[in-house]
Symmetry: C2
Subunit: 495 residues, 2 copies
Amino acid sequence: MYGDRVRNPALLDRIVCADDAAMLIRDGMTVGMSGFTRAGEAKAVPMALAARARQSPLSITLITGASLGNDLDKTLAEAHVLARRLPFQSDPALRKAINAGEVMFVDQHLSETVELLRTRQLGPIDVAVIEAVAITEQGGIVPTTSVGNSATFSILAEKVIIEINLSQSDMLEGLHDIYIPTHRPTRMPIPVVAPESRVGLPFIPIDPDKIAAIVITEKLDSSSTILPPDDETRAIAGHLSEFLEHEVKAGRLTNSLQPLQAGIGTIANAVLHGLIETPFHNLKMYSEVLQDSTFDLFDAGKLDFASGSSITLSAEKYRSVMPDFARYKSRLILRPQEISNHPEVVRRLGIICINTALEFDLYGNVNSTHVAGTQMMNGIGGSGDFARNGYLSIFVTKATAKDGRISSVVPMASHVDHNEHDVDILVTEFGLADLRGLAPRERAPLIIANCAHPDYRDELADYFRRAVARGGHTPHVLEEALSWHVRLKETGSMR
Amino acid sequence: MYGDRVRNPALLDRIVCADDAAMLIRDGMTVGMSGFTRAGEAKAVPMALAARARQSPLSITLITGASLGNDLDKTLAEAHVLARRLPFQSDPALRKAINAGEVMFVDQHLSETVELLRTRQLGPIDVAVIEAVAITEQGGIVPTTSVGNSATFSILAEKVIIEINLSQSDMLEGLHDIYIPTHRPTRMPIPVVAPESRVGLPFIPIDPDKIAAIVITEKLDSSSTILPPDDETRAIAGHLSEFLEHEVKAGRLTNSLQPLQAGIGTIANAVLHGLIETPFHNLKMYSEVLQDSTFDLFDAGKLDFASGSSITLSAEKYRSVMPDFARYKSRLILRPQEISNHPEVVRRLGIICINTALEFDLYGNVNSTHVAGTQMMNGIGGSGDFARNGYLSIFVTKATAKDGRISSVVPMASHVDHNEHDVDILVTEFGLADLRGLAPRERAPLIIANCAHPDYRDELADYFRRAVARGGHTPHVLEEALSWHVRLKETGSMR
Ligand SMILES: CC(C)(COP(=O)(O)OP(=O)(O)OC[C@H]1O[C@@H](n2cnc3c(N)ncnc32)[C@H](O)[C@@H]1OP(=O)(O)O)[C@@H](O)C(=O)NCCC(=O)NCCS
Ligand SMILES: CC(C)(COP(=O)(O)OP(=O)(O)OC[C@H]1O[C@@H](n2cnc3c(N)ncnc32)[C@H](O)[C@@H]1OP(=O)(O)O)[C@@H](O)C(=O)NCCC(=O)NCCS
């Protein structure tokens, strides 16, 4: 039994139940788990761990690729298993614990975590828990719907627990490209020179002796929670497509554009989806998470190739894509998030990066993480890896949130994840501001006129006028710079 | 005459006076000039241009490598020649014009400007003005004490003016390594794999027909304005050396550390100088500007190799180094700033990056550019290229400025150039805060205790306590977050 999934016969007798495997994880340990944007996370062992913690309390440092599905972060947070969590999450219950100071959350660029582990600036990893499609004859681990940080976790961990997930299609084998950069300071160039470059192995190579337990599961990945395009996201997509067409006309881009990256969430997905209606063709993606829109673009004949670190689909898309996976597989690669997001590769390929902002200010500083400067939403994720190094760094957002009570365009960003040096283009449903080559004083009028919601334009313009009267390269009325956020806190609205 | 400097005989009759050469620059043009941290700037033509502008007004977009010496930015600004200036400056008069909104300053990562020019997102460059030691037989340009953006300016410009500077030693020939990345999306890896990698040509290869004028000059580079180490900078250096020794003891670094980068200015210079008194040896630098300390470290037998984009020395150091340049030359390379600062190379080599902050906040967000959030100081320079991608990202500053009236540790940074994701270590004369792997709430007490000036500690601790009471991942009392800066503006002091 399971011989096609656990192909090294010596490993078959390490198959245990999740509770037993979870016993390898002890209080105070640092644990690396697979999982990236709700795809390919270990599912059974963390659940068993949470169940045990409810009886006898324990807490760990949990490092993953990115966010987990199946309410795992919620379950672990509520069982008080998480003393420390990195590098990303997107769960409301965990978010609450983080903002209450109960879980120490370390918000990192997604390409960086493994560099810190490898140089022992973080860690060491005591146990890795990795979901796999199969274990090869030599003990190589074949990941499922995400690679994330799984390769480095497995390589560095003292012990590895594998969850063989029978619900994950064995068609996934051969999809992954596992390349681990060499040690510094004698590292060689990362040989990825195109989204379709295959430079590594289709499995994670580790010493099979480290595999301490194997658990058989069959729980599905959670579906993505993105919403379908609406009028506003369609308008955002429209402005962006128009801008890109303008760049083609100006001779700066061809109709195949440059490789595309699109961030997580509804808006980024809608923007990519919007490319179906454009003259662009033979597109390629070099991104992080591949969402529904990637497959929509394949189906529309627009996309030639997509490289990512995970595949996260809506329930409906999953049902149409997975049975037909052979049709897509030769045009897909999943890589470690260190490589999908690597500054070296992002800069080399000249990626067009599209990420979502919570808010941005008059001068183009972007907040992706902190509501009102203090409350963590999800984390910076890969947005910094891409935005700093891309050919074009684009941030999209709806002009308002919470039924118009919050303006996404504010006098001063209440937290800065991407500063004015890193942001080229801002888009809301009202329009697009092209900030390239502009000084702060030139940016503000453009952002107010093109991006802000009409209800907030006059007050923004008034702020800017009074700020300019005080002078400075980046004019501000300091005592009012955060007053919109203060008002929101006090009255529930920025109006 | 000048046949040893202008070795292509066909070019000899293009030698003209600076006034005539400057006539090639017309109102409204975009001009690229050599010059990086007061080294190797074109000297005669911009002066002639300023003189002309005083008679008949004209204004241009001026792009350089970084800051210019010989009061050029001052002279050009005062003659109202500068409509637009990028990507860096450090001149008090120009700064004043920028902050008054008279000059549109575009503050950029120093590795990025030429990417924007190459893809025509900026530019085009009408005229390049490049200081050179010599022009080769084939028309290749041999730069002087800096490379900066000179190579790409020359390659992209419609016309090139060369200033042959007779005061620049012909010993400089052979020092430069000119490598230009290929076009995207088909770019190949940049082959630099060590500070000593030579991957390009010792001259800038251009079509000699583009050389429209040659001017002979002999004005010296300006000396650097750095101050000698004082008690405080010595204390900063001491804390940092102690930290690095601790990293060696922990087995995370060897006594040769990782390649070093140190930012501009007095403090960074003092910190590097401080390494003379440590057990470290066989060090290498992969930096931007090579200051006095680089040569002090060579002389002390501590440094094996240094790669940079310019050499900027004090008058005294210049007098001792230049006559003896042969002794250093084989251990030095000057590269285009795109390569000295390239995220790909910085990440690959695993650089230890030491840059200076104006201020930082309780959570490790760093302001390098804007006094009180509004007034431009110099620009971000290369600090972002390095800090985002290095092995260790260290920011140093004195704990107070202006005789203690300004605390460099503030509740919230008034402008964010490097955010909490990019900052590992903070150092002032009082001590060092190691932020690696810490959540914001863990960072604050460490920064207050180790880095803040004792006079400000209680008030910072009080702010933090009240902020935590309100909750949030990154707690703030929003309506007070910038109150220290407001107080400074109103009373002249943060006390
Ligand atoms: C910024 C981010 C939170 C937006 O998420 P999204 O789902 O695309 O966008 P939405 O507009 O639906 O916003 C999500 C929530 O934030 C709220 N929000 C949006 N702007 C806000 C603002 N300025 N202030 C407060 N809340 C805001 C929305 O109301 C919504 O709340 P809800 O969950 O209660 O409905 C998300 O993109 C993110 O986490 N980004 C950072 C990481 C990243 O960029 N990764 C991509 C790299 S590959
Ligand atoms: C930040 C920076 C301005 C510090 O310069 P420095 O010469 O090393 O440091 P100093 O302490 O002498 O400070 C310079 C000036 O800023 C003032 N200053 C320092 N901290 C300040 C603060 N928090 N608020 C207001 N002014 C401050 C000092 O008083 C001094 O003023 P002065 O010129 O009137 O004497 C400089 O390093 C810089 O421009 N950095 C950004 C670019 C960069 O990092 N490049 C390196 C990449 S290679």
